[in-house]
Each structure stands twice: as C-alpha cells, then as structure tokens.
Symmetry: C2
C-alpha cells in the first residue's frame, strides 16, 4: 500500500466565465468541484495506475463532507481525520475565451493540538502497512512549521521510504529530518538554497539532508541527484498544455516505481512520462493514459556528465 498525506486538503472548484473583469458582475457558466490538495492528486494518479493507495490528512465542515463524498467512488481509500474546522476551497476562475485562470485559495481550517495528536496516531497505524509514503503540500493554520520534519522522522523510524513535496520553511525543516526523497521545482529549490542553478541547488538540498533530490524543471523534465548517481530525464519533445498537476503526477510516478522496486532510471522515466501525459490531458490534473503508455519508452534518461 502507498500512503499519501495531505494536511491541507482542498475542494478544488472551477468557475467558467466569459472573462474576469475586476469589480464587475459575472454569470458563472459551469461549476466543477473535485477533491484536491497535492497528496489527493498524487493518490488519484496512483489509483489510476492500479496501486493500492490510502489518503490521510484532515477534512472537516461542510466542504470536508463534499470532498469525502467526491472521494468515495475513487480508488484511493479515505483515511482522512475529521476536524472541527471547514476544509478550504481553492477557486480557479477560467476565462472561456482564452483559458486563462485566476486562482483564489482559502486558508484552510484551524487544526487543534488534539486533532494533530489524533492524526499522528492514524499516521503511525497506517505506516505499519505502507510500502512508501508521500507528504504533500502546504500546512493548514495551527500546524507547527516543523510538522513535516516530525512526520519524516516517524516514517524513517518505521523504515518506510518517505517523499516530501512541499515548499518554504516546512520544506527547509523537513529536509533536515533526512527524507529519502524531495521533489522541488526550480522555484522552490531556488527559495530553499538561494541558487537558480539546478545542479548546484539540488546538491545543496542533498547536503541539507535529503538522500535524493528530483528537481522538476518543467518542460525540460527532471534532474535527479541520488545516492546511486546523477541523471537527467526528459520527454522526447516539449509539449504544450495545462501544467496543473504535472508535479503531482511526477510524484506519483516516482512513488509507483519505488514501490515496485525499480531502479532510478525507471523511476525517472515514469515520473517524466506521467507528468508529460498530465500536461497533454484536456482536463487539468488528469493524465492521458494512452499518451503515458506511448511516452514511457521514449523518455530519455541520461547519466549526468559534469561540464569539463
């Protein structure tokens, strides 16, 4: 079983309007709601790949109920911990003509110390049956900034490989707890290390504690610094599309291959093929299964040769 943790789950709401005009009044054409938050997105991809997947984290209030109702028919199993506060909504307002999107993110529920303690008990129980765990996304209000570091340490004590995908101070603290893998994008890596040169920055992230760093470089693929070597993996050709969820699909690819005991080149190929197939899918955050199958053997994975 693969476990994903989403402390700040979200109901992703999409509004379609003709064009968003500040201080105007708009008739919303279509309202789409789906369960969101990075760990839930990762789990959905893992479920689609056929992995037994469990999601935990927090859900609460009326929005939490809607989220869980939408999650119920999907493959990932729901082990979310109920909280008193209301799960946040993230609202994407899409202009019909151009497809441009305006994003508004609610803050998320205040989580109490008792609710955090209840989560820790659930997390430890679930780790007993997990082949790997991914810790994903932002922290809701009330959760201490070292929360991911705490969760990394618990996973390592349970000998479960742990992937951390977050940003800012929670990433900085989490890395120091020595996770098996972090998957920052170029921006997160630059904020963490101060360097915009991916190889240098990823090396710095390893020295800070991450056993392996897979830096996602957008259309260029990924750069991986691991105990077994350094690789660059890239799609056969750059693609155009909606990059929403591409990073979450990369995490799913890495976890999927890790859980199957595949080596680094095959993990990276899966990550790049899945994230590219996500950019190509018409619906944001979904992946195109046919494109994934076609892309997988075409991803180039090359050992990195340092410049002379």
């Amino acid at each position: 079983m693969i476990l994903t943790v989403t402390l700040n789950t979200a109901l992703d709401v999409t509004y379609t309007v003709d064009a968003l005009v500040p201080h105007g009044s708009h008739r919303v054409g279509e309202v789409i709601e789906r369960p969101g938050g990075k760990g839930l997105n990762v789990a959905r991809v893992l479920g689609a790949l056929g992995h037994d997947t469990v999601v935990t984290g927090f859900a609460g209030g009326a929005t939490g109920t809607v989220l869980r109702d939408l999650l119920a028919p999907l493959p990932p199993r729901d082990a979310l911990v109920q909280v008193a506060g209301n799960t946040r909504r993230t609202l994407a307002i899409t202009d019909r003509s151009t497809g441009d999107t305006t994003q508004l993110n609610e803050p998320g529920p205040q989580v109490s110390p008792a609710e955090w303690a209840a989560f820790l008990r659930t997390y430890e129980d679930l780790l007993a049956g997990a082949d790997a765990v991914a810790l994903c996304g932002s922290l809701p209000p009330g959760i201490h900034v070292g929360a991911y570091a705490e969760l990394v340490r618990i996973a390592r004590a349970a000998a479960v490989p742990v992937l951390l995908d977050t940003s800012g101070e929670p990433l900085r603290r989490g890395i120091a707890a020595r996770p098996d893998l972090v998957k920052p994008n170029a921006e997160e890596l630059a904020r963490l290390t101060g360097s915009r040169e991916p190889l240098r920055a990823a090396g710095d992230a390893r020295r800070r504690g991450a056993h392996a760093v897979v830096a996602s470089l957008g259309p260029e693929g990924v750069l991986a610094l691991t105990p077994d070597g350094v690789w660059r993996a890239a799609p056969p050709a750059p693609v155009r599309g909606n990059p929403t969820g591409a990073g979450d699909s990369a995490v799913a690819g890495l976890l999927s291959a890790l859980a199957e005991g595949l080596d680094w080149p095959r993990r990276l190929a899966r990550a790049v093929a899945l994230s590219t197939a996500t950019v190509l899918a018409p619906a944001a955050g979904e992946f195109d299964a046919a494109a994934y199958a076609e892309l997988l053997p075409l991803v180039t994975v090359e050992p990195h040769v340092p410049a002379p």
Copy 2:
C-alpha cells in the same frame, strides 16, 4: 405572518483579498458565508423588526444544507422546499485596500416539474396563514418564465396582498397578473417600459397591471404611484455607504407597514428609513437599527404635484 418567497436562494460567500488581479494567484484572508437571495434578505430584516416571518423557495445539495444551517438560528422560520440540485453560491471578492467588489454568481439548481409542484403545495398551505407575501429575485433553471405570474394569481385568489420584486421577463409577465405592488429600481423600470423618466415609467407599469408601483431611486428615495395617490419619499440627506441590500430593506419596510395596516405615507417612510439605514451599516445587507430609529421621523413624504 409575513411570507417571503426566494426561488433562487443563495449562499452569499465573501472573500477578502489584497487586490484581485486577473490571471494571478490570491491568498484569501477571510471567508464569510451567509444565507442570501432577495427574499431571505427581506425576511431577515422583517425578523429584526419583530415580525413573524416565514421563508420558502428552494434549497438543495451541500450548499443548501449550509444555507439552512446558517438560517436555523435566525428569526425567520424555514419552510424551504428540498430539491435534488445544489443551491447556488454567489461570490463577492472584496479588495482589502479599496473595498471594491467583484461578483460571481453561480446559476442555481435545475428545478424539476415535480419539485415545482411540491413548492406550489407548500406555497398554498403557507398563504392560508399569511398577512402578506413577497416574491423576490431571479428564477433558477427549470422554472418557467411565467412562474411569478402563477404565484401572483394564487396569492390574489387567496386574498393575500402580494409584492413582486424581480426583473426582466419574469417581472413583465408577473405584472400582467396584477400584483398589489411592484418595487422596481430605475434600471428595471426602464427595461420594462423603455422609459427612463420614473413618473412616466411607473405610470406605464401600473397600466400593465400593478396596482401600486414603488420605484426606488437610490439616494433620492422612492416614487410611489398607488390607488390612493402619488408620493415622493426621501431621506433627510443623501448618505454614502454600501447600497447592497438597500432594495431588500425597502421591500421589508413596505411589507412591514402593510402588514400593520399603515397608510402609504407611513409605508414609504419605513421603506426609505430602512434602506438608508442599510446603506449606513458597516456590514453589507445589514441595517443599522439606531440609524433606522433616528431616520424614521425625518424622512420627507410629499404628495407629488405634477409640473405645470
């Protein structure tokens, strides 16, 4: 008992952001939710004035549940009819710095013929105990455009005074069914009659079937054409503030005085004092009770003298 009908109830959601930037990403500072839709707003004001008030219309889905939970502790009694579809949200995004607001309105649930029939039964039952009824706001999808005309005829058959506050084609059809009172604003009156001259347009609206027309003219107060005479009513001085809900407060004032058997000048004074006290209140759609009490004796109500 005063009955208000809101066929397209709404959960009014307000987001506060620093400033709305199209195609940007925004952190929402505060999320406020309250029960909305014109008839619910009218009922809330009537409840605050101490009137026994019942609200009906439709509510459904997860948003309907939130709406009813928020309604439960308020004075108006909930006689909303449950529907399968999801009650709409209206989202107001307020820029923190300027107070400017961007509005996004969801379309509302599709109402089935069986749900409309269930509503009609509830409506007829409630009319048996009503001193007056207000029919307020837009129609949700699935409701025929002559719905308000049908509801006006049923109220008149039950000998219950009926006020209609809507716009566009539902107003045009509803007026032809001879409601006791309509309360259009200048814009709605112009769309109905083609005339931007309030006295002429209100006269036209009466000829189309309304027994009385109270046209709301914003800061200038109201113009009333009634079977008993023609009046202009105005606040003692123009005020600045948030006009959201001022029209609904005017409806509440008219209904409140009508239910108490007051004459037209006193009905108009109450409408103008309440709508002005709503503009003055810090929270959108609420009214300032102290300002209302102060304003009530100061509203000028003058019989209209036609120009020579």
